[in-house]
Amino acid sequence: MSLLETRGVTRTYGKGTTKFDALRGINLQINKGDSVAIIGKSGSGKSTLMHILALLDHPTTGSVFLNNEPTSKIKNKALNKLRNQTFGFVFQQFFLNAQDSVLENVMLPLKIAGVTGRERRTKALAAIKAVGLESKVKNKASALSGGQKQRVCIARALVNDPQIIFADEPTGNLDSATSENIENILFKLHQEKNITLIIVTHDPDLAKKCERQIQIKDGQVVGGTQQ
């Protein structure tokens, strides 16, 4: 069953002489429960594609379909709800609020959703436990190691029980042991909760663990596998 689909998606940055086509006609389909790796060289347009799939950005031309409905028709309010409750994001940089505690950071999506009190705390603590950071709940985000920060990001992404997790280079800056740990967490979620995973990476090992790879070069799909 098609969860996300793109038809002839392009994305052009800038105007005039600085005009740059980051994506040039992307057609692809991602099914519910898939685990997909988007691979390619730096600057090939992976992050741009992921942002468009995650409805954080709009294609210049072409269209994106979510559950076979064109996403251009989604109203702002519904879009905010999707971002908050259906999608989970792990960004290339961590984007944690350095001054806040781990708990506060993980609670952020719940805060935005308007969840309060005990429910908010319980859910956040459960997510923190899922990534094995129980001992750091009260620590400031700035006082964590890179791997721990990334785990906080994953906890934040899964705290609202999303259907899809988008992860942009989740193991980009981490050593192999830590990477493995992060990968295990993600694939465990994929298997246990049937969460669709869309992972941008240039790590071939991580890509191999996904059921499918989509290779991007200069803004176009140049190859990939379908298992």
């Binding site: 709800k81 994001f89 984007f95 805060k111 935005i112």
Partner: protein, 421 residues
């Protein structure tokens, strides 16, 4: 996002940038302080006026005198029918009264004659000169007793507090019902006449007819009769003033009546205007303060705008993240508006608190110096409604100033914001 989370986010951010927040608050604080003091003075003055004039009734009653143009200049004045040397002495005759009565928009005319009294004697027989006037029919502020009769033949008098002791009464209560003797003489016959009057009340210190004793209508008539004994008939019609009531009590129509009187060579002023004139100095002070406060608030607005732009810049990534996580434009706008309002709230409350402190210090000083003798005049006063109004207005101003940066934050595109370095 719930309201308390929005508030929390705003407050936390203000707290994280303590120095910046503090500096912005100072400008708001100064504006609020000066405006609160101004309001305090206004309250104090109004409260005093209410005490003094509020129960007087008939504050729109107008007293009409000959035009004062002859005293305004040292140059000899050209003669015309409106301006003769005869009425330069401040007295009016029958013709004047007739002319005044012809002015439209006035009713209930009463021409008051002069009553000259040589001296007055109380129980201790000491002779005192007296400044007094016939009742204008208003309610004088009394410590004890009741008002004098405005018609009829009863000879009654209201005396002032200092007169009580000097005339030889034990206290104000003791004076009630007792007699004083007024001695007057006719300028023609030079014969003395003794008129006795009953004290029916003792006046409080007041800015209305300050220091004047008040005669009843009957007492006034008796004194005038004694004054005019032997005077040729034509000279008897000398009036000091005419009192009248405007038909329409709105400020604009009263102004019109006064303009018409001026054209005819007279000047009219209502009791209210006369009292307000006494407070011109305070109005000048509050005027300067208001201007100062307004300037401080304008400066504060720029401070708030600047601070919030800095805050939006600092938090660009955070805003991008929150928007990516589904926070709506409206909520982002609220977070920054909240920050602005909190600055306004802290600044204005602090300003108000200091104004209250300063106010009581100034009041203490004033009571011992320049307001000595004005009973019941507390210069600076605060009340809940106007204090809350000031806080409310300042919060509104800071909110409005904050809308510019808050709008910019709300419009941020999440991806651009996340890429922001």
């Amino acid at each position: 996002m719930r309201f308390h989370d929005i508030l929390n986010s705003a407050a936390t951010n203000l707290w994280h940038n303590k120095g910046r927040t503090f500096l912005t608050i100072i400008a708001v604080f100064i504006g609020s302080l000066t405006i609160a003091i101004t309001m305090g003075i206004n309250n104090g003055v109004n409260d005093y006026l209410k005490k003094q004039v509020g129960n007087v009734g008939k504050t729109e009653q107008m007293s009409i005198l000959p035009g004062s143009s002859s005293q305004d200049t040292n140059e000899p004045q050209k003669y015309n029918t409106k301006k003769s040397s005869q009425n330069a002495d401040g007295m009016m005759d029958k013709n004047d009264v007739k002319k005044i009565k012809s002015v439209k928009g006035l009713k209930d005319f009463k021409a008051l004659k002069d009553c000259d009294v040589d001296y007055v004697q109380g129980p201790n027989k000491t002779k005192y000169i007296i400044i007094a006037q016939i009742t204008e029919g208003i309610n004088y502020d009394l410590k004890v007793g009741h008002q004098v009769a405005t018609s009829g033949k009863k000879a009654q008098i209201l005396i002032t507090k200092p007169m009580v002791k000097s005339y030889g009464f034990k206290n104000a209560q003791d004076a009630l019902g007792k007699k004083v003797t007024l001695v007057t003489k006719s300028p023609v016959t030079k014969k003395k006449a003794k008129i006795s009057a009953t004290v029916v009340g003792v006046r409080n210190d007041s800015i209305v007819s300050k220091g004047f004793a008040i005669y009843s209508n009957g007492l006034g008539e008796k004194i005038i009769a004694a004054n005019q004994k032997g005077l040729p008939h034509a000279l008897k019609d000398k009036y000091v003033s005419v009192i009248a009531t405007p038909v329409n009590k709105s400020a604009s129509s009263i102004k019109k009546v006064e303009d018409n009187l001026t054209k005819k060579g007279y000047s009219g002023m209502t009791l209210k205007e006369a009292v307000n004139e006494l407070f011109l100095t305070f109005n000048a002070v509050t005027g300067v303060l208001i201007v100062f406060g307004a300037i401080a608030l304008v400066a504060a607005c720029f401070g708030v705008i600047n601070t919030l732009y800095m805050s939006v810049r600092d938090r660009t990534k955070e805003i991008g993240l929150m928007k990516a996580l589904g926070l709506s434009k409206g909520k982002v706008f609220s977070i920054f508006s909240c920050e602005a309002i909190l600055i306004g709230l802290f600044g204005s409350s602090l300003g108000l608190l200091l104004a209250m402190g300063l106010g009581s210090a100034i009041n203490n000083f004033a009571a011992k110096s320049f307001l000595k003798g004005l009973d019941g005049f507390t210069l600076i006063q605060f009340n809940w409604s106007s204090s809350l109004l000031i806080i409310g207005i300042i919060c509104l101003i800071t909110f409005l100033a904050g809308t510019l940066p808050a709008k910019r934050a709300a419009k941020l595109d999440p991806i651009t914001a996340l890429r922001y370095e």
